[in-house]
């Protein structure tokens, strides 16, 4: 071991420099005061720290993410790319709401007929809305393909005066 110590003699001399590094003058004068103040006021424990104390696994996860910025950056880029692809696909003309709705339609055979009729009506309503926009503007009745926003024919047992019977026969 002595031989090793001798081998590192000049390194020991250089490390002596570390002992001469000192903090700014007067730094220690108020150090204990600051520590005691922080203990007494409890400022050290912020709301987020209190939260993390209850879910230590989340703190460990975030800490590990902090230690691997490249990994986090790659994951974030991946998510961004997926979102961008999603937006582009959603904006394509062949991805109309009807297609999306038919894709989401249940395959229950008992309901399949009524659902297809509903969507057929919806298609007609869309066509009607575009061709008779002037008419709808004058009557104040807006036709929407969104079935959930259709005016209700009766409300609380009383007929809804805003609802007019629509005919798709051209009469």
């Amino acid at each position: 071991m002595n031989e090793n110590e001798n081998n590192f003699e000049s390194l020991r001399q250089l490390l002596a420099l570390k002992k001469h590094e000192v903090p700014p003058p007067g730094y220690f004068n108020r150090f204990s005061h600051r520590v005691i103040n922080e203990i007494e006021s409890g400022e050290r424990l912020t709301d987020s720290e209190r939260f993390f104390a209850t879910v230590p696994w989340l703190f460990r996860l975030l800490s590990s993410m902090q230690a691997r910025p490249a990994l986090v950056g790659t994951a974030a880029t991946g998510i961004f790319v997926l979102m961008a692809i999603g937006l582009i696909v959603a904006d394509r003309p062949d991805s109309s709401p009807e297609v999306a709705a038919s894709a989401m339609a249940p395959v229950d055979p008992a309901n399949s007929l009524s659902m297809s009729q509903t969507f057929a009506s919806s298609d007609l309503m869309t066509a009607s809305a575009s061709s008779n926009s002037a008419e709808t503007a004058s009557t104040g009745l807006a036709i929407s393909t969104n079935l959930s926003l259709q005016p209700v024919a009766s409300m609380f047992g009383h007929p809804n005066s805003l609802v007019q019977p629509a005919s798709f026969n051209g009469n």
Binding site: S63, A67, P69
Partner: protein, 209 residues
């Protein structure tokens, strides 16, 4: 002869008195007496700060870590059983805090070096190193300080802790083993490896015998 015998006896009694005084302060602090804890902080603030500073090479980080270590120690005071000295127990908290901090900030290292005191220019080791042995005779102490800190930052957190505690702060191997929760052999091997690494990194500033 009498003088020689008397000195260790005095030292031993002083040490025992310090230990009992320390235990008394710890007991009082545990009961919530803040002036007792203030006294404990004053006793160890310089050593704890220095350890944090030498491990991070950054004054602001060292300040935060030292304060957090004392705060955590106070909060955990009830769990202090007295198996080791308060000082060793406090060191363990501080070193673990520094190691975790370095692990988290591995890729975001920034130096904020403290000034050198005026005694550095007259330190015989440094005078010899600069004026006679270093091939770079023009190297100033500030340059050496920067190179030395940069080299220390390249060590792993475990090796850095061992070299700082032993070679900079003079903590004995056995106490380092106690602080770091490993055996003395591990401390010695880590120290040897850390010194070898530092020697390689600082080769141009060291005397080649």
């Amino acid at each position: 002869m009498g003088m020689i015998m008397a000195e260790p006896a005095t030292n031993t009694s002083t040490e025992a008195s310090n230990v009992s005084d320390e235990m008394s302060l710890v007991s009082r602090a545990r009961r919530g007496e803040m002036d007792a804890y203030d006294e404990l902080v004053r006793r160890y603030q310089e050593r704890i700060y220095a350890t944090m500073y030498h491990m991070t090479s950054n004054h602001e980080d060292a300040n935060d870590l030292a304060q957090e270590s004392f705060i955590k120690a106070f909060q955990a005071l009830k769990s202090f059983k007295g198996d080791s000295s308060f000082y060793t127990w406090l060191y363990r908290i501080a070193v673990n805090k520094a190691i975790n901090f370095i692990k988290q900030r591995r890729n975001r290292v920034s130096m904020s070096l403290n000034d050198l005191d005026t005694n550095a220019e007259h330190d015989p080791d440094l005078v010899a190193l600069i004026s006679h042995k270093t091939p770079h005779r023009a190297a100033t102490l500030a340059e050496l300080q920067e190179k030395l800190n940069a080299a220390i930052l390249k060590l792993s957190e475990q090796h850095r802790a061992v070299v700082v505690l032993h070679d900079v702060q003079g903590v004995p191997h056995e106490e380092i083993a106690d602080i770091m929760g490993c055996n003395v052999g591990t401390v010695r091997s880590r120290l040897f490896y850390a010194r070898q690494q530092l020697q390689g990194l600082l080769a141009e500033y060291l005397d080649k015998k």
